[in-house]
């Protein structure tokens, strides 16, 4: 790279796969696409739950989750929200954690934990709707 002035490689060829996370604009676009969905889903969730489950009682919560529109909405919120959250936290980890081993462990946990959480939460919604 020392004689890059005279190299015949194109600028794109030199920078490709050298980004902080080794990839291109996929996450940048996914972050924005998911944010547009969350602009609608997040305020709906907060206002809908606040109005329906104001005292946090068990029956009010079950009633809210058992409504099909609420069930579909909250599954979308969990799936899209936790993906958005994982991308955002990955950016934070890549920015602040310099030690490669710590960074790799945190990036792995940040990929695995939201996935487990999302599957657990979505399964819970299905269980309330179709369970015993």
């Amino acid at each position: 790279m020392s004689n890059s002035e005279r190299s015949m490689r194109t600028p794109l060829g030199r920078v490709r796969a050298h980004g902080a996370s080794g990839e291109g604009t996929g996450h940048f676009i996914a972050q924005r696409v998911t944010s547009i969905a969350l602009v609608l889903l997040a305020p709906w969730f907060v206002v809908s739950v606040a109005l329906a489950v104001r005292d946090a009682s068990y029956l009010a919560t079950i009633d809210w989750i058992a409504d099909p529109v609420n069930a579909v909405g909250v599954i979308l919120l969990v799936a899209i929200g936790l993906y958005h959250m994982s991308i955002g936290m990955q950016e934070v980890i890549v920015d602040y954690i310099l030690k490669p081993s710590t960074k790799m462990i945190l990036l792995f946990l940040n990929a695995a934990f939201p996935l487990v959480l999302a599957v657990g939460a979505i399964f819970a919604v299905l269980l309330v709707n179709f369970g015993v």
Binding site: V39, L51, Y58, T61, V92, L117, A121
Partner: protein, 132 residues
């Protein structure tokens, strides 16, 4: 570069500490801080759903936490963080189109996002107390 051996020895330019504090700086830092905070809120939503699926006994633990003063305080912070991240997220989507990037416009929209974060939880509380 991650692979550069002497990166620890190089002098680092002072950045955050040397700048006059201004609102666009605060808005950027707040976006990241609220994003990380909402990671915790998402875990809370997942726990809430899973507890509801587990039945009245496990749910009563969540109910106790949400009804206590610290649960209520946490909910207030979550709504404020979500409102801020939402307003500032929309601000960034507008920035992505190339609009609103002049210092005057960016300052105005940053203040709007901060004021919205203060107003939203108060508005939701008023809706629940005096509204429907």
């Amino acid at each position: 570069m991650a692979g550069a051996p002497s990166s620890q020895d190089r002098p680092i330019a002072p950045h955050v500490s040397i700048w006059r504090w201004h609102v666009t700086m605060a808005s950027s830092i707040l976006h990241r801080v609220t994003g990380v905070g909402l990671y915790g809120a998402a875990i809370g939503v997942a726990i809430w759903l899973i507890a509801a699926a587990l039945g009245p006994e496990p749910y009563s633990m969540v109910d106790t936490i949400l009804s206590a003063w610290y649960g209520q305080a946490a909910m207030y912070l979550v709504v404020a963080s979500l409102a801020y991240h939402l307003a500032n997220g929309i601000r960034h989507l507008v920035f992505d189109t190339g609009a609103g990037l002049t210092p005057t416009d960016a300052d105005t929209s940053a203040w709007f996002a901060i004021l919205f974060a203060i107003a939203a939880p108060i508005g939701l509380w008023a809706l629940l107390t005096f509204g429907v």
